[in-house]
Every structure is written in C-alpha cells, then in structure tokens.
Point group: C2
Chain length 210, copies 2
Amino acid sequence: MHDKNISQVVISRLPRYFRYLGDLKDEGKERISSGELSKRMNVTASQIRQDFNHFGGFGQQGYGYNVNYLYDEIGKILGLDKRHNLIIIGAGNLGQALANYMNFERRGFYVRGIFDNKESLIGTKVRDMTVMPVEDLKDFIKENSIDIAVLTLPKQGATGLIDTLVECKISGIWNFAHCDLDVPDSILVENVHLTDSLMKLSFKIHDHNE
Amino acid sequence: MHDKNISQVVISRLPRYFRYLGDLKDEGKERISSGELSKRMNVTASQIRQDFNHFGGFGQQGYGYNVNYLYDEIGKILGLDKRHNLIIIGAGNLGQALANYMNFERRGFYVRGIFDNKESLIGTKVRDMTVMPVEDLKDFIKENSIDIAVLTLPKQGATGLIDTLVECKISGIWNFAHCDLDVPDSILVENVHLTDSLMKLSFKIHDHNE
C-alpha cells in the first residue's frame, strides 16, 4: 500500500535503495539507521526518511531499520516478489548480451524466448534458446504468459512491432531502440537510450572543462 | 556559452532534442516552430522555449527555428563536435555489444581498445580489436589520448580499477557495473544501471495494475 501520487523521482530512487540494502544483507548487517544509510548512499538522512514515508515509513525504531524487512518491503513495492516472463525482440549483440545476463533471473525476470526479423539470425542459438521469427510473436506471448517485451531491434523494426505488442496486451516494454514509442497508456514503457546517456556524459565532460 | 547553473533535468533533455532534430533533418525539414516540435515530442511549447533560453534561445524568429542550426548548436553543447576516444573495460557480452555498436562513431565516440581481466577473453577478437589485459590499461590510455572508459566488468572488477583510472586522469566513466563509483570530482560519471531500469519498469507495471 502506498501513496498513489508518488513522484517519478522518488520511484526512480527505489532500485538504488534496494541495491544498497542487498549489499548490507550480503555483509550480514541486521539494522541500519537512516544516518548510516545516508552516509553510504551519499544522500541526506532527511531525504531517506521522506522517501520512505511515502510507503508508511517502514517502521523505523530509535535504533534504525531492520535491513531484511526493508529489503523485502522495497522488493515487494518494486514487484520483485512476482515472476516476470520476458521475451527479447532483437537477437543482435545487445539482445544476446541481455539474454545472457543471469542477474535478471535472481530478481524474478525470466527470459523465455528471443526473436528477430533477420533470416541470418533466425534458428541460431542464444544461451539455450533458438531465435524465432517475429511472425511467431503473437502465439508465443499468449502461450507463455509473457508480460514484458525487451526491444533491442533498430528503430524501424521496433516501431513496426508496436501494433502487434499492443494487440497481445503486453504489460511492459523495456525499450532499447533509439526512439520513443507511441503506445496506449495501458502499456508501460521504460527506455534505455544508450546514445542519449553517452551524450550526457560528453556534456558533463565539456561543461566541466569549459 | 551557457548558463552554468542549468539543472540536471534540463541537461538530461538535450539528447532527446538532438535526436528529434536529427529525425527532422533526415526528413529534409528546414524550419520548425516550438509548437510543432512540442507536438512531436509530447512536451509543452513553453518548456521547449524555457529549456532553449538557458542557451540563449537559439534565435527563434516568428517563423520558428532553423533545424540545421539548432541541431548543430545542441550538438556543440553536448560536445559532439569533438572527437572522443573510448576504451571498453570488460569484454563480455555487454562489452562486445557496445564495441559493435556503430552508432556511437557517427556521434564522434571512437572505441580504440577493449580490455578484460579474464585469461579466457584476453587475446580474443572483438570487431577488429584484440582484447588486452587490464595490466596494459595505463600505457594504452596515455599513448592513445583516451578520455572515456566504458566499464562493463562485474562490480568487484570495476571498483578495483578505479584507482588506475583516477591515476590516468581519465575524463569520464560510462559505468555499466551494478554499483555506484567512488571517484574524485574531476572524473565525470554517467551510470547505466540496467537492473535498476528493469525494476522501475516492474514497479510501473505493478503500480498500474494495483
């Protein structure tokens, strides 16, 4: 249960909290104060308390937060207590890299299939999966309860598949294509625009040296 | 020349403007009004004008912005008129994917070398480059005027190399490792935390369905 009007900024900080709490768990730490967490994360203790208050505060006592409890609760808010079935559309280098990244499975994200529209890639093996043609997308999504599509095709190929994904009522798209997607509100999109990110770094470097 | 106190939010929008202006250029469009651009980008025209005012406004006339001029100017602000020499540290799937991504070169980012600390990868070929051992990092950075290091090693390997990169006075780190880096202010860092991004998508999906 949480405040429905949480800002995107607060939400975007949750995975980082989750990451640090995972580290604390790995270190065997059982409790942590907002002051200690603030030092580690390089944010103010008051920001941490404000962020957590959106979710009921996670029951901080005078002696701090219970690390395991906080980790589990933030995990639940992020939907990590549920299983997600993913497909990757685009079996090029990036698609292959994501298919092979085992860390996602630890978080409940399972890659169930990989697709491409290139003859040369269809039928090849990625991890333990055979690359399928995009024509098979619809049936596969329905039969395998796929909720997330990872788009690693170039722009033209990606935009051409949007109608199919909408029709299949996919829940979310993790978009690596170098464009913004025009989808109905019922489909949630998270973009990873790599070139944009590299340009931001370039800006910072030049701004710093000016 | 620009206002030195521009917020990170405005800066983070610049690559997106650049991307849309590139599309307009490709379509052969010569002028565009803030109203038209606003419709395409799904942001308000007043936000566009406010953002551009941080950089002197880019000389909008009654009949709109000159697309080529605006594209070039934003490119310059992003430092894309200069050449950047990159190395990739981590020759696994993700490092290989980034090494093979030609789009970066179009923007002036040249991958000059690729490194790893794994015996099994050192000496293998990625694109036209032979994977080098991390021991060779220092000399290579100096001899090849490398300004950006792309970190695609797992967490432990990545944090262990920070001292070396600091010593080599690298300008920027594009960090894909699943951790935050502790570096002096002289080194600019841009993080791509893929797992964090996937968690954000998961949050959106669950928040939407609640």
